[in-house]
């Protein structure tokens, strides 16, 4: 790359995305996306399906190249193999070669790295020692997902990219994966984690980047994202909810209505003033998920 010498004193970002645009034919998957990722960060990438999360991860791991703009990992182009020696990534669980045994897949991936972790302790760590001699086709979904994570870690990477690491797992299997990610991060590893599971991001991530329709709509820490939107949820039962000002979104299920607003006090005053007969009034702060939906809605309305 052209300029690697200028940031000797301040540590350069581990990964950098600079004014990246990526299109597939007429479809704009990412539009003017910029992002710096520092060492030791655990970044949650949130967004609805098709928002551009997977495209962004594909750019960072060198599978895709930007239509314009620049992507760097460890100061180099992720499309050159030498930039990826300190990168770890999970395959999708459906992608493991079914006829290879667990220990074989792990050794195969490990052999690509200059200084891999020994397979034995890693299988032990992921509770797969008893399965080492089984073909991957015989593993359960949770076991495949743990093996996938072990594959991401086997090369002692400094950065791992996890694309929806727990989708489709039961609660216990998900906890296992989460604790492994948290351990890796606690040891100084840097993580990018894409998800549409908000509790996953709330549990693990310090920093959240929300992507919607190819653009970054928010980039902040978890608490700030929630307060930034300051969304409150007002819910009650009534036959026909009155039309209230300041409501950003309305969910109706039977006679139960949920109103999302940034000013719950005003909405409640207006609700009472409207004279509508209601019951079971609740006011709560929205979860990250609700905040996120409100955020992407605001963006679309704008």
């Amino acid at each position: 790359m052209t300029s690697q010498t200028h940031d000797q004193d301040s540590e350069p970002p581990l990964a950098r995305v600079l004014a990246v645009r990526r299109t597939y034919g007429d479809v704009v998957a990412l539009d003017d996306v910029s992002l710096d990722l520092g060492r030791g960060e655990l970044l949650g990438l949130l967004g609805p399906n098709g928002a551009g999360k997977s495209t962004l991860i594909g750019l960072l791991c060198g599978q895709r190249k930007p239509s314009s703009g620049r992507v760097e990992i460890f100061g180099g182009d992720p499309r050159s193999a030498s930039s990826r020696t300190r990168l770890g990534m999970t395959p999708q669980e459906t992608g493991l070669p079914p006829t290879l045994k667990v220990a074989e897949v792990l050794s195969f991936v490990a052999a690509h790295y200059p200084d891999p972790i020994a397979p034995g302790p890693l299988l032990e760590r992921f509770g797969l020692s008893a399965k080492a001699g089984n073909q991957t086709g015989s593993l359960s979904g949770g076991q495949k997902r743990r093996l996938a994570l072990a594959l991401a870690l086997v090369g002692r990477p400094e950065l791992i990219l996890l694309d929806e690491p727990t989708t489709g797992l039961d609660v216990e299997a998900r906890r296992d994966v989460w604790s492994a990610i948290a351990d890796y991060h606690a040891d100084g590893g840097t993580v990018v984690l894409s998800s549409h599971n908000m509790s996953e991001v709330e549990e693990l991530a310090r920093r959240v980047v929300v992507i919607d329709r190819g653009r970054i709509v928010a980039d902040d820490d978890v608490a700030a994202i929630r307060t930034h939107v300051a969304t409150r949820r007002v819910s009650f039962r009534t036959a026909q909810p009155p039309d209230l000002p300041g409501v950003e979104r309305l969910n109706t299920e039977g006679d139960r209505h949920e109103l999302f607003t940034s000013d719950s006090d005003a909405v409640v005053r207006d609700l009472v003033a409207s004279g509508a007969a209601f019951s079971d009034l609740e006011v709560a702060s929205a979860s990250l998920e609700e905040a996120f939906v409100a955020l992407t809605h605001q963006e679309r309305a704008a």
Partner: protein, 271 residues
Amino acid sequence: MSTAQTTTYERPPTQDLPARPVGAWHLTALHFRYQFLETVRIPIAVIATTLFPALSLLFFVIPQSELASDPVIASAAAAQLSVFAIMSVCLFNFGVAIAEDRATPWDPYLRTLPAGPGPRFTGRLLNGLTFAAMGLVPLLILAASLTEATLPVARIVPALLAWVATGLPFLGIGLAIGYRLSSKAALAVANVLLLPMAFAGGLLLPPELFPGWLEIASRFLPSRAGRDLLVGTVTGESIPLVAVVVLLGWSVLAVGLAVLAYRRDEGQRFR
């Protein structure tokens, strides 16, 4: 799972040195070894590619003593079937296997490891060559022990080279199928090509038994051209010039198609 064992991920003190990527030869050998393992664990693939040529010789040539006892005819029969062996490996181990690989997320995952596409591709070529050789060995053993087929020592190396050369157009066709078609279409096309191409190319019946029109038309097929080249090399009879020209033409065409298909696939999946 225990949470106490966090030391697993600790990096060694050398972390500030630039990490040296693993060498290309090492990676090629690695990919070859694991692709071979993957293929060899599917018994039907092994049987179809390695035993079919030998079984054909056993059932159709060896029982007919007038064929088996004539050194020229028996050698030609073994040569024909060895062309069949390399053809079926190219169509299936490259065509169908590559198309199936492209459909799984494992293949793009491998592209995120610190290795370019080279080691995997070279490993695949070696794997195909190994399977083709595995089809050749039982065929040659049967031909040598149960027929009068002979191959003088001086012709062994030219015959091996000719054998690899007959594979070139099919390698191209196989790669073009693999990189261009879906796995279902690849399987269908490979099957549709294999037997008609083998039959019309004189790999199952010698072309001397063909009706006149087929004998002429057949000369334009890569299977026939490959057969004529190898039979001539093995038996020491003259090799028709047209066979060499046709084989070269098909090789150039097929390898060209393969390059186009590969580039198109790269462009769709990795650009």
